[in-house]
Protein backbone atom coordinates (compact mmCIF):
# COMPACT_ATOMS: atom_id res chain seq x y z
CA UNK A 1 0.00 0.00 0.00
CA UNK A 2 1.30 3.41 -0.82
CA UNK A 3 1.86 6.02 1.86
CA UNK A 4 -0.86 8.05 0.22
CA UNK A 5 -3.42 5.26 0.56
CA UNK A 6 -2.49 4.73 4.21
CA UNK A 7 -2.98 8.39 4.89
CA UNK A 8 -6.35 8.39 3.18
CA UNK A 9 -7.50 5.41 5.22
CA UNK A 10 -6.19 6.92 8.44
CA UNK A 11 -8.05 10.10 7.70
CA UNK A 12 -11.25 8.26 6.96
CA UNK A 13 -10.87 6.58 10.31
CA UNK A 14 -10.61 9.96 11.91
CA UNK A 15 -7.12 9.29 13.26
CA UNK A 16 -5.45 12.08 11.41
CA UNK A 17 -7.63 15.08 11.12
CA UNK A 18 -5.32 17.25 9.05
CA UNK A 19 -3.07 15.16 6.90
CA UNK A 20 -0.44 16.77 4.70
CA UNK A 21 -2.76 15.91 1.82
CA UNK A 22 -5.13 18.66 2.72
CA UNK A 23 -4.21 21.43 0.37
CA UNK A 24 -3.77 25.08 1.12
CA UNK A 25 -6.73 26.84 -0.42
CA UNK A 26 -8.55 30.12 -0.60
CA UNK A 27 -11.77 30.34 1.38
CA UNK A 28 -14.51 32.96 1.59
CA UNK A 29 -15.66 34.70 4.76
CA UNK A 30 -18.44 37.11 5.51
CA UNK A 31 -17.71 39.04 8.66
CA UNK A 32 -20.00 41.54 10.31
CA UNK A 33 -18.25 44.87 10.75
CA UNK A 34 -19.75 47.73 12.68
CA UNK A 35 -20.60 49.09 16.09
CA UNK A 36 -23.68 49.90 18.14
CA UNK A 37 -24.87 52.36 15.51
CA UNK A 38 -24.96 49.82 12.70
CA UNK A 39 -22.74 48.06 10.26
CA UNK A 40 -22.67 45.54 7.45
CA UNK A 41 -21.20 42.25 6.33
CA UNK A 42 -17.83 42.55 4.63
CA UNK A 43 -16.42 39.80 2.43
CA UNK A 44 -12.91 38.48 2.94
CA UNK A 45 -10.91 35.83 1.17
CA UNK A 46 -7.83 34.20 2.59
CA UNK A 47 -5.67 31.09 2.54
CA UNK A 48 -6.48 28.24 4.82
CA UNK A 49 -3.84 25.79 5.91
CA UNK A 50 -4.31 22.44 7.59
CA UNK A 51 -5.00 22.67 11.29
CA UNK A 52 -6.43 26.16 11.29
CA UNK A 53 -9.35 27.17 13.48
CA UNK A 54 -11.67 30.12 12.87
CA UNK A 55 -9.73 32.30 15.30
CA UNK A 56 -6.54 31.71 13.26
CA UNK A 57 -8.39 32.91 10.20
CA UNK A 58 -9.41 36.09 11.99
CA UNK A 59 -5.81 36.74 12.95
CA UNK A 60 -4.73 36.15 9.37
CA UNK A 61 -7.35 38.54 8.04
CA UNK A 62 -6.25 41.11 10.61
CA UNK A 63 -2.67 40.72 9.43
CA UNK A 64 -3.46 40.75 5.73
CA UNK A 65 -6.29 43.10 5.07
CA UNK A 66 -8.19 44.37 8.11
CA UNK A 67 -5.88 45.51 10.88
CA UNK A 68 -8.78 47.14 12.67
CA UNK A 69 -11.00 44.05 12.80
CA UNK A 70 -12.03 43.62 16.45
CA UNK A 71 -12.34 40.21 18.07
CA UNK A 72 -11.81 39.05 21.63
CA UNK A 73 -9.61 36.10 22.54
CA UNK A 74 -7.18 35.01 25.14
CA UNK A 75 -6.22 31.35 25.60
CA UNK A 76 -6.81 29.84 22.17
CA UNK A 77 -7.44 26.59 24.02
CA UNK A 78 -11.14 26.65 24.73
CA UNK A 79 -10.62 27.52 28.37
CA UNK A 80 -10.98 31.26 28.82
CA UNK A 81 -14.37 31.70 27.18
CA UNK A 82 -13.43 34.97 25.46
CA UNK A 83 -13.71 34.11 21.79
CA UNK A 84 -17.46 33.40 21.63
CA UNK A 85 -19.20 34.45 18.41
CA UNK A 86 -21.75 33.08 15.98
CA UNK A 87 -20.24 31.01 13.22
CA UNK A 88 -22.60 30.19 10.39
CA UNK A 89 -25.40 31.13 12.73
CA UNK A 90 -24.32 28.90 15.61
CA UNK A 91 -22.96 30.20 18.89
CA UNK A 92 -19.46 28.73 19.17
CA UNK A 93 -15.93 29.31 20.42
CA UNK A 94 -13.91 30.49 17.45
CA UNK A 95 -10.73 28.97 18.83
CA UNK A 96 -12.33 25.53 18.96
CA UNK A 97 -14.04 25.57 15.59
CA UNK A 98 -11.82 23.82 13.11
CA UNK A 99 -11.82 24.90 9.51
CA UNK A 100 -11.96 21.31 8.32
CA UNK A 101 -15.40 20.96 9.88
CA UNK A 102 -16.84 23.02 7.01
CA UNK A 103 -17.47 22.06 3.42
CA UNK A 104 -14.71 23.20 1.10
CA UNK A 105 -16.79 25.65 -0.88
CA UNK A 106 -18.76 26.98 2.07
CA UNK A 107 -18.67 30.72 2.79
CA UNK A 108 -18.27 31.13 6.52
CA UNK A 109 -20.34 33.81 8.20
CA UNK A 110 -19.06 35.36 11.43
CA UNK A 111 -21.23 37.54 13.65
CA UNK A 112 -21.09 39.01 17.15
CA UNK A 113 -23.29 37.34 19.80
CA UNK A 114 -26.88 38.38 19.17
CA UNK A 115 -27.96 38.65 22.79
CA UNK A 116 -25.48 41.27 24.00
CA UNK A 117 -24.83 44.87 22.91
CA UNK A 118 -22.21 45.22 20.20
CA UNK A 119 -19.05 47.13 21.06
CA UNK A 120 -17.27 46.66 17.76
CA UNK A 121 -17.26 44.05 15.00
CA UNK A 122 -17.23 40.68 16.74
CA UNK A 123 -16.88 42.04 20.25
CA UNK A 124 -19.94 42.35 22.48
CA UNK A 125 -20.44 43.79 25.93
CA UNK A 126 -21.25 40.83 28.16
CA UNK A 127 -21.31 42.78 31.43
CA UNK A 128 -25.03 42.06 31.89
CA UNK A 129 -23.87 38.61 32.97
CA UNK A 130 -21.64 39.98 35.71
CA UNK A 131 -24.61 41.83 37.12
CA UNK A 132 -26.62 38.62 37.25
CA UNK A 133 -23.89 36.92 39.23
CA UNK A 134 -23.85 39.80 41.70
CA UNK A 135 -27.53 39.20 42.41
CA UNK A 136 -26.91 35.64 43.57
CA UNK A 137 -26.46 34.84 47.26
CA UNK A 138 -22.94 33.35 47.42
CA UNK A 139 -21.77 30.13 49.06
CA UNK A 140 -22.56 30.06 52.79
CA UNK A 141 -20.84 27.07 54.34
CA UNK A 142 -21.96 25.59 57.63
CA UNK A 143 -19.51 25.74 60.55
CA UNK A 144 -16.38 23.62 60.38
CA UNK A 145 -16.15 20.30 62.22
CA UNK A 146 -14.58 20.32 65.71
CA UNK A 147 -11.14 19.59 64.26
CA UNK A 148 -11.38 22.65 62.04
CA UNK A 149 -12.05 20.73 58.83
CA UNK A 150 -14.86 20.59 56.34
CA UNK A 151 -15.95 17.10 55.37
CA UNK A 152 -17.84 15.88 52.37
CA UNK A 153 -17.59 12.68 50.39
CA UNK A 154 -16.93 12.21 46.72
CA UNK A 155 -20.48 11.01 46.14
CA UNK A 156 -21.76 14.32 47.44
CA UNK A 157 -19.65 16.60 45.31
CA UNK A 158 -19.50 14.60 42.09
CA UNK A 159 -22.81 15.95 40.93
CA UNK A 160 -21.82 19.61 41.30
CA UNK A 161 -18.36 19.06 39.85
CA UNK A 162 -19.94 19.09 36.40
CA UNK A 163 -21.10 22.68 36.85
CA UNK A 164 -17.64 23.82 37.84
CA UNK A 165 -16.40 23.07 34.33
CA UNK A 166 -18.13 26.24 33.15
CA UNK A 167 -15.72 28.64 31.43
CA UNK A 168 -18.21 31.52 31.34
CA UNK A 169 -18.15 31.81 27.58
CA UNK A 170 -21.83 32.85 27.75
CA UNK A 171 -22.69 30.89 24.62
CA UNK A 172 -25.60 29.39 26.54
CA UNK A 173 -26.75 32.86 27.57
CA UNK A 174 -26.50 33.97 23.95
CA UNK A 175 -28.57 31.10 22.56
CA UNK A 176 -31.24 31.06 25.28
CA UNK A 177 -34.36 32.35 23.52
CA UNK A 178 -35.65 33.94 26.74
CA UNK A 179 -32.70 36.35 26.71
CA UNK A 180 -32.05 36.35 22.97
CA UNK A 181 -35.51 36.84 21.53
CA UNK A 182 -38.15 37.23 24.24
CA UNK A 183 -36.73 40.28 25.99
CA UNK A 184 -36.48 38.36 29.26
CA UNK A 185 -33.25 39.85 30.59
CA UNK A 186 -35.09 41.45 33.50
CA UNK A 187 -36.87 38.25 34.46
CA UNK A 188 -34.42 35.40 33.98
CA UNK A 189 -30.76 35.11 34.93
CA UNK A 190 -30.10 32.59 32.16
CA UNK A 191 -28.73 29.04 31.99
CA UNK A 192 -25.17 29.87 33.06
CA UNK A 193 -26.44 31.22 36.37
CA UNK A 194 -29.00 28.48 36.78
CA UNK A 195 -26.16 25.96 36.91
CA UNK A 196 -24.25 28.25 39.21
CA UNK A 197 -27.32 28.24 41.45
CA UNK A 198 -27.59 24.48 41.13
CA UNK A 199 -23.98 24.08 42.22
CA UNK A 200 -24.72 26.15 45.34
CA UNK A 201 -28.11 24.64 46.14
CA UNK A 202 -26.87 21.05 45.81
CA UNK A 203 -23.72 21.71 47.79
CA UNK A 204 -23.62 19.52 50.90
CA UNK A 205 -22.03 22.26 53.00
CA UNK A 206 -24.09 25.21 51.87
CA UNK A 207 -26.74 26.60 54.20
CA UNK A 208 -28.37 29.43 52.24
CA UNK A 209 -31.89 28.99 50.87
CA UNK A 210 -32.19 30.38 47.37
CA UNK A 211 -35.38 28.57 46.29
CA UNK A 212 -37.71 31.58 46.68
CA UNK A 213 -35.32 33.73 44.65
CA UNK A 214 -34.84 30.99 42.06
CA UNK A 215 -38.53 31.11 41.41
CA UNK A 216 -39.05 34.88 41.57
CA UNK A 217 -35.93 36.96 40.99
CA UNK A 218 -33.89 34.46 39.03
CA UNK A 219 -36.95 33.35 37.03
CA UNK A 220 -36.66 29.55 36.73
CA UNK A 221 -40.19 29.42 35.26
CA UNK A 222 -39.11 31.40 32.22
CA UNK A 223 -36.95 28.57 30.99
CA UNK A 224 -39.08 26.26 28.90
CA UNK A 225 -36.42 23.53 28.92
CA UNK A 226 -35.94 23.60 25.17
CA UNK A 227 -32.29 22.73 25.79
CA UNK A 228 -30.47 25.03 23.37
CA UNK A 229 -28.11 25.98 26.18
CA UNK A 230 -27.10 22.34 26.53
CA UNK A 231 -26.66 22.03 22.77
CA UNK A 232 -24.11 24.84 22.52
CA UNK A 233 -22.14 24.41 25.74
CA UNK A 234 -18.50 23.80 24.73
CA UNK A 235 -17.87 22.10 28.07
CA UNK A 236 -20.74 19.67 27.41
CA UNK A 237 -22.41 20.49 30.70
CA UNK A 238 -25.87 19.00 30.93
CA UNK A 239 -27.26 22.40 31.84
CA UNK A 240 -30.93 21.57 31.45
CA UNK A 241 -31.15 17.97 32.68
CA UNK A 242 -28.73 18.21 35.58
CA UNK A 243 -29.07 21.84 36.57
CA UNK A 244 -32.27 23.59 35.56
CA UNK A 245 -34.76 20.73 35.79
CA UNK A 246 -33.60 19.66 39.28
CA UNK A 247 -33.97 23.29 40.39
CA UNK A 248 -37.44 23.47 38.86
CA UNK A 249 -38.32 20.31 40.80
CA UNK A 250 -37.09 21.93 44.02
CA UNK A 251 -39.29 24.92 43.26
CA UNK A 252 -42.22 22.51 42.78
CA UNK A 253 -41.48 20.98 46.20
CA UNK A 254 -41.70 24.40 47.77
CA UNK A 255 -44.52 26.05 45.87
CA UNK A 256 -46.67 23.71 43.82
CA UNK A 257 -46.82 20.28 45.43
CA UNK A 258 -49.69 20.21 47.96
CA UNK A 259 -48.42 17.02 49.60
CA UNK A 260 -44.98 18.51 50.21
CA UNK A 261 -46.66 21.58 51.60
CA UNK A 262 -48.66 19.56 54.12
CA UNK A 263 -45.58 17.53 55.01
CA UNK A 264 -43.65 20.73 55.66
CA UNK A 265 -46.42 22.10 57.84
CA UNK A 266 -46.61 18.94 59.93
CA UNK A 267 -43.01 17.75 60.08
CA UNK A 268 -41.27 21.01 59.31
CA UNK A 269 -39.09 19.47 56.60
Amino acid sequence: MTVRAILVIARLNGRIQDSPLQKIMKRNFKIWRGDKNGGQFVDYRTNIEPGMVVLDVLHRIQAESAGDLACRWNCKAGKCGSCSMEINGKPRLSCMTRMNSFKEDETITLQPLKTFPIMRDLVTDVSWNYRQKEKIVPFRPKPRDADGNYRMTRDDVERIQEFRKCIECYLCQDVCHVLRDQGGKDQFVGPRFMIYLASLEMHPLDTADRIPAIRKEYGSGFCNITKCCTEVCPEHINITDNGIIPLKERVVDRYFDPVMWVKRKIFGV
Binding site: W32, G34, K36, N37, G38, G39, Q40, F41, E86, N88, G89, K90, P91, T109, Q111, P112, L113, K114, I118, M152, T153, D155, D156, V175, H177, V178, R180, D181, Q182, G184, F188, E201, M202, H203, P204, D206, G219, G221, F222, C223, N224, I225, T226, K227, C228, E231, V232, T240, D241, I245, P246, K248, E249, R250, V251, V252, D253, Y255, F256, D257
Partner: protein, 274 residues
Protein backbone atom coordinates in the same frame (compact mmCIF):
# COMPACT_ATOMS: atom_id res chain seq x y z
CA UNK B 1 -26.24 51.61 7.22
CA UNK B 2 -27.68 49.80 4.21
CA UNK B 3 -30.58 48.59 6.30
CA UNK B 4 -28.79 45.65 7.89
CA UNK B 5 -30.09 44.67 11.28
CA UNK B 6 -27.75 44.90 14.25
CA UNK B 7 -25.05 42.28 14.05
CA UNK B 8 -26.47 41.11 10.72
CA UNK B 9 -29.48 39.42 12.30
CA UNK B 10 -32.80 39.53 10.49
CA UNK B 11 -36.22 39.25 12.10
CA UNK B 12 -39.06 36.92 11.10
CA UNK B 13 -40.28 33.54 12.31
CA UNK B 14 -37.82 30.68 11.81
CA UNK B 15 -35.27 33.04 10.24
CA UNK B 16 -31.69 32.08 11.02
CA UNK B 17 -28.18 32.42 9.67
CA UNK B 18 -27.70 28.69 10.22
CA UNK B 19 -27.19 26.83 7.00
CA UNK B 20 -27.42 23.30 8.34
CA UNK B 21 -30.53 21.12 8.37
CA UNK B 22 -31.72 22.26 11.81
CA UNK B 23 -35.37 22.00 10.70
CA UNK B 24 -35.30 18.24 10.13
CA UNK B 25 -35.56 17.31 13.77
CA UNK B 26 -38.54 19.56 14.65
CA UNK B 27 -40.23 18.47 11.43
CA UNK B 28 -39.81 14.77 12.21
CA UNK B 29 -40.99 15.39 15.76
CA UNK B 30 -44.04 17.19 14.43
CA UNK B 31 -44.85 14.38 12.02
CA UNK B 32 -44.15 11.68 14.59
CA UNK B 33 -46.35 13.18 17.29
CA UNK B 34 -49.11 14.07 14.84
CA UNK B 35 -49.21 10.53 13.49
CA UNK B 36 -49.39 9.13 16.99
CA UNK B 37 -52.10 11.54 18.12
CA UNK B 38 -54.24 10.85 15.06
CA UNK B 39 -53.80 7.09 15.24
CA UNK B 40 -54.34 6.82 18.99
CA UNK B 41 -57.46 9.01 18.91
CA UNK B 42 -58.89 7.03 16.04
CA UNK B 43 -58.07 3.75 17.71
CA UNK B 44 -59.47 4.86 21.07
CA UNK B 45 -62.73 5.85 19.40
CA UNK B 46 -63.20 2.46 17.78
CA UNK B 47 -64.08 0.54 20.92
CA UNK B 48 -63.54 -2.76 19.08
CA UNK B 49 -60.75 -5.15 18.07
CA UNK B 50 -58.72 -4.38 21.15
CA UNK B 51 -58.57 -7.95 22.36
CA UNK B 52 -57.47 -11.24 20.89
CA UNK B 53 -56.97 -14.58 22.65
CA UNK B 54 -55.21 -13.34 25.73
CA UNK B 55 -53.83 -10.11 24.34
CA UNK B 56 -55.21 -6.79 25.48
CA UNK B 57 -54.23 -3.63 23.64
CA UNK B 58 -52.35 -1.24 25.97
CA UNK B 59 -54.54 1.67 24.83
CA UNK B 60 -57.45 -0.12 26.44
CA UNK B 61 -55.86 -1.20 29.68
CA UNK B 62 -57.08 -1.22 32.37
CA UNK B 63 -60.60 -2.06 31.28
CA UNK B 64 -63.07 -0.23 33.48
CA UNK B 65 -66.28 -0.86 31.58
CA UNK B 66 -66.73 -3.12 28.55
CA UNK B 67 -69.25 -3.32 25.81
CA UNK B 68 -69.25 -7.12 25.36
CA UNK B 69 -71.12 -6.91 22.06
CA UNK B 70 -68.39 -4.99 20.25
CA UNK B 71 -66.34 -7.15 17.86
CA UNK B 72 -62.92 -8.01 19.19
CA UNK B 73 -63.77 -6.95 22.72
CA UNK B 74 -62.50 -8.62 25.88
CA UNK B 75 -64.64 -11.07 27.86
CA UNK B 76 -66.75 -9.07 30.26
CA UNK B 77 -65.13 -10.53 33.39
CA UNK B 78 -61.92 -8.73 32.43
CA UNK B 79 -63.44 -5.36 33.20
CA UNK B 80 -63.03 -3.92 36.67
CA UNK B 81 -66.66 -2.84 36.75
CA UNK B 82 -68.25 -5.12 34.16
CA UNK B 83 -70.44 -3.98 31.28
CA UNK B 84 -71.31 -0.36 30.59
CA UNK B 85 -74.18 0.69 32.89
CA UNK B 86 -77.54 1.69 31.40
CA UNK B 87 -77.16 5.27 32.65
CA UNK B 88 -74.01 5.75 30.56
CA UNK B 89 -74.43 9.06 28.71
CA UNK B 90 -74.69 8.54 24.98
CA UNK B 91 -72.34 11.38 24.13
CA UNK B 92 -69.39 9.54 25.70
CA UNK B 93 -68.30 6.80 23.31
CA UNK B 94 -68.52 3.31 24.79
CA UNK B 95 -64.85 2.67 24.30
CA UNK B 96 -62.83 1.47 27.28
CA UNK B 97 -59.82 3.43 25.99
CA UNK B 98 -61.70 6.63 26.49
CA UNK B 99 -61.70 6.29 30.24
CA UNK B 100 -58.02 5.82 30.73
CA UNK B 101 -56.04 7.49 27.95
CA UNK B 102 -56.09 10.80 29.81
CA UNK B 103 -53.60 9.41 32.34
CA UNK B 104 -50.77 8.39 30.03
CA UNK B 105 -51.72 11.41 27.91
CA UNK B 106 -51.21 13.81 30.81
CA UNK B 107 -47.99 12.06 31.77
CA UNK B 108 -46.46 12.48 28.36
CA UNK B 109 -47.86 15.96 27.88
CA UNK B 110 -46.20 17.25 31.03
CA UNK B 111 -42.98 15.24 30.59
CA UNK B 112 -39.92 17.46 30.48
CA UNK B 113 -38.70 15.83 27.28
CA UNK B 114 -42.02 16.09 25.48
CA UNK B 115 -42.33 19.68 26.58
CA UNK B 116 -39.02 20.46 24.95
CA UNK B 117 -40.09 18.60 21.83
CA UNK B 118 -43.46 20.25 21.34
CA UNK B 119 -42.42 23.71 22.48
CA UNK B 120 -39.96 23.48 19.65
CA UNK B 121 -41.88 21.68 16.94
CA UNK B 122 -45.48 22.78 17.60
CA UNK B 123 -45.16 26.10 19.46
CA UNK B 124 -41.95 27.23 17.68
CA UNK B 125 -40.63 28.65 20.95
CA UNK B 126 -38.04 28.41 19.47
CA UNK B 127 -38.18 26.01 16.48
CA UNK B 128 -34.41 25.50 16.69
CA UNK B 129 -31.40 26.90 18.48
CA UNK B 130 -30.42 30.38 17.27
CA UNK B 131 -33.52 30.30 15.07
CA UNK B 132 -36.08 33.06 15.56
CA UNK B 133 -39.13 31.97 17.55
CA UNK B 134 -42.74 32.80 16.88
CA UNK B 135 -42.89 36.43 18.01
CA UNK B 136 -45.07 37.11 21.05
CA UNK B 137 -45.64 40.27 22.95
CA UNK B 138 -45.42 38.92 26.43
CA UNK B 139 -43.47 35.71 26.85
CA UNK B 140 -44.21 34.17 30.25
CA UNK B 141 -42.62 30.76 29.83
CA UNK B 142 -43.97 28.32 32.38
CA UNK B 143 -44.88 31.00 34.92
CA UNK B 144 -48.43 31.63 33.84
CA UNK B 145 -50.69 29.59 31.57
CA UNK B 146 -48.29 26.68 31.69
CA UNK B 147 -48.00 26.61 35.48
CA UNK B 148 -49.80 23.25 35.50
CA UNK B 149 -46.63 21.66 34.07
CA UNK B 150 -45.35 21.83 37.64
CA UNK B 151 -47.74 19.03 38.59
CA UNK B 152 -45.96 16.52 36.37
CA UNK B 153 -45.12 14.35 39.39
CA UNK B 154 -48.82 13.65 39.97
CA UNK B 155 -49.12 12.30 36.44
CA UNK B 156 -46.04 10.25 37.27
CA UNK B 157 -47.79 8.54 40.19
CA UNK B 158 -50.45 7.25 37.81
CA UNK B 159 -47.84 6.26 35.27
CA UNK B 160 -46.09 4.13 37.89
CA UNK B 161 -49.38 2.35 38.45
CA UNK B 162 -49.71 1.77 34.72
CA UNK B 163 -46.37 -0.05 34.66
CA UNK B 164 -47.83 -2.60 37.08
CA UNK B 165 -51.04 -2.89 35.08
CA UNK B 166 -49.26 -3.33 31.77
CA UNK B 167 -46.88 -5.95 33.19
CA UNK B 168 -49.90 -7.77 34.54
CA UNK B 169 -51.45 -7.68 31.04
CA UNK B 170 -48.19 -8.88 29.55
CA UNK B 171 -48.08 -11.88 31.90
CA UNK B 172 -51.69 -12.68 31.20
CA UNK B 173 -50.77 -12.71 27.54
CA UNK B 174 -48.69 -15.82 28.23
CA UNK B 175 -51.70 -17.80 29.45
CA UNK B 176 -54.55 -18.75 27.15
CA UNK B 177 -57.47 -21.00 28.13
CA UNK B 178 -55.55 -22.04 31.22
CA UNK B 179 -52.49 -23.09 29.22
CA UNK B 180 -49.08 -21.42 29.38
CA UNK B 181 -47.59 -20.54 26.06
CA UNK B 182 -46.02 -17.80 24.08
CA UNK B 183 -47.05 -15.92 20.99
CA UNK B 184 -45.62 -12.98 19.09
CA UNK B 185 -48.33 -10.93 20.78
CA UNK B 186 -47.16 -11.92 24.27
CA UNK B 187 -43.67 -10.72 23.41
CA UNK B 188 -45.02 -7.51 21.90
CA UNK B 189 -46.91 -6.76 25.11
CA UNK B 190 -43.99 -7.71 27.34
CA UNK B 191 -41.72 -5.37 25.42
CA UNK B 192 -44.36 -2.69 25.65
CA UNK B 193 -44.46 -2.83 29.43
CA UNK B 194 -40.67 -2.88 29.57
CA UNK B 195 -40.17 0.12 27.28
CA UNK B 196 -42.80 1.97 29.22
CA UNK B 197 -41.05 1.15 32.48
CA UNK B 198 -37.70 2.36 31.09
CA UNK B 199 -39.36 5.59 30.02
CA UNK B 200 -41.27 6.15 33.25
CA UNK B 201 -38.43 5.28 35.60
CA UNK B 202 -36.16 7.74 33.80
CA UNK B 203 -38.54 10.60 34.58
CA UNK B 204 -36.94 13.81 35.86
CA UNK B 205 -39.50 14.16 38.65
CA UNK B 206 -38.84 10.58 39.69
CA UNK B 207 -35.11 11.25 39.67
CA UNK B 208 -35.72 14.22 41.93
CA UNK B 209 -38.01 12.36 44.30
CA UNK B 210 -35.89 9.24 44.71
CA UNK B 211 -32.76 11.17 45.63
CA UNK B 212 -32.11 14.29 43.60
CA UNK B 213 -33.71 16.50 46.21
CA UNK B 214 -31.06 15.62 48.79
CA UNK B 215 -28.00 17.82 49.14
CA UNK B 216 -26.08 15.24 51.07
CA UNK B 217 -26.01 11.69 49.75
CA UNK B 218 -23.70 10.33 52.41
CA UNK B 219 -25.16 11.79 55.58
CA UNK B 220 -27.18 8.77 56.73
CA UNK B 221 -27.86 5.22 55.63
CA UNK B 222 -31.20 6.03 54.01
CA UNK B 223 -29.60 8.78 51.94
CA UNK B 224 -26.91 6.36 50.87
CA UNK B 225 -29.55 3.92 49.64
CA UNK B 226 -31.40 6.70 47.87
CA UNK B 227 -28.16 7.71 46.21
CA UNK B 228 -27.80 4.22 44.71
CA UNK B 229 -31.35 4.40 43.36
CA UNK B 230 -30.73 7.91 42.08
CA UNK B 231 -27.71 6.64 40.14
CA UNK B 232 -29.82 3.94 38.45
CA UNK B 233 -32.56 6.39 37.63
CA UNK B 234 -29.93 8.77 36.26
CA UNK B 235 -28.81 6.04 33.86
CA UNK B 236 -32.34 5.83 32.47
CA UNK B 237 -32.79 9.59 32.67
CA UNK B 238 -29.83 10.10 30.37
CA UNK B 239 -31.72 7.97 27.82
CA UNK B 240 -35.10 9.52 28.51
CA UNK B 241 -35.62 10.91 25.02
CA UNK B 242 -34.73 7.56 23.48
CA UNK B 243 -37.21 5.67 25.64
CA UNK B 244 -39.83 8.37 25.13
CA UNK B 245 -39.75 7.61 21.42
CA UNK B 246 -39.34 3.85 21.62
CA UNK B 247 -42.17 3.48 24.13
CA UNK B 248 -44.41 5.83 22.15
CA UNK B 249 -43.86 3.94 18.95
CA UNK B 250 -44.17 0.57 20.62
CA UNK B 251 -47.39 1.29 22.47
CA UNK B 252 -48.95 2.37 19.16
CA UNK B 253 -47.56 -0.69 17.44
CA UNK B 254 -48.86 -2.99 20.20
CA UNK B 255 -52.35 -1.62 19.71
CA UNK B 256 -52.07 -1.99 15.97
CA UNK B 257 -50.80 -5.54 16.38
CA UNK B 258 -53.68 -6.64 18.57
CA UNK B 259 -56.12 -4.83 16.31
CA UNK B 260 -54.89 -6.42 13.09
CA UNK B 261 -54.65 -9.88 14.63
CA UNK B 262 -58.15 -9.51 16.04
CA UNK B 263 -59.41 -8.39 12.63
CA UNK B 264 -57.80 -11.41 11.04
CA UNK B 265 -55.50 -9.29 8.87
CA UNK B 266 -52.35 -10.51 10.58
CA UNK B 267 -51.77 -13.99 11.87
CA UNK B 268 -50.31 -14.31 15.37
CA UNK B 269 -47.72 -17.07 15.57
CA UNK B 270 -47.98 -18.79 18.91
CA UNK B 271 -47.57 -22.08 20.75
CA UNK B 272 -51.35 -22.25 21.09
CA UNK B 273 -51.46 -22.59 17.32
CA UNK B 274 -54.33 -20.25 16.55
Amino acid sequence: MNGQARGGYQSGVAVTVRNDTWWISPLLTFLGFSTFIIYSTWSALQGNHYYYGSYLSPFYSPLIFINPYAVGSAPVEHAWLGAYPSWWPTFIPQSPAFLILAFPGAFRFTCYYYRKAYYRSFALTPPGCAVNPLPRRDYRGETFLLLFQNLHRYALYFALLFIVILYYDAFRAFVRDGRWGVGVGSLVLLLNATFLACYTLGCHSWRHLVGGRLDCFSCDSLSKKRYRIWQRVTFLNERHQLFAWISLFWVGFSDLYVRLVSMGVWRDFSTWGN
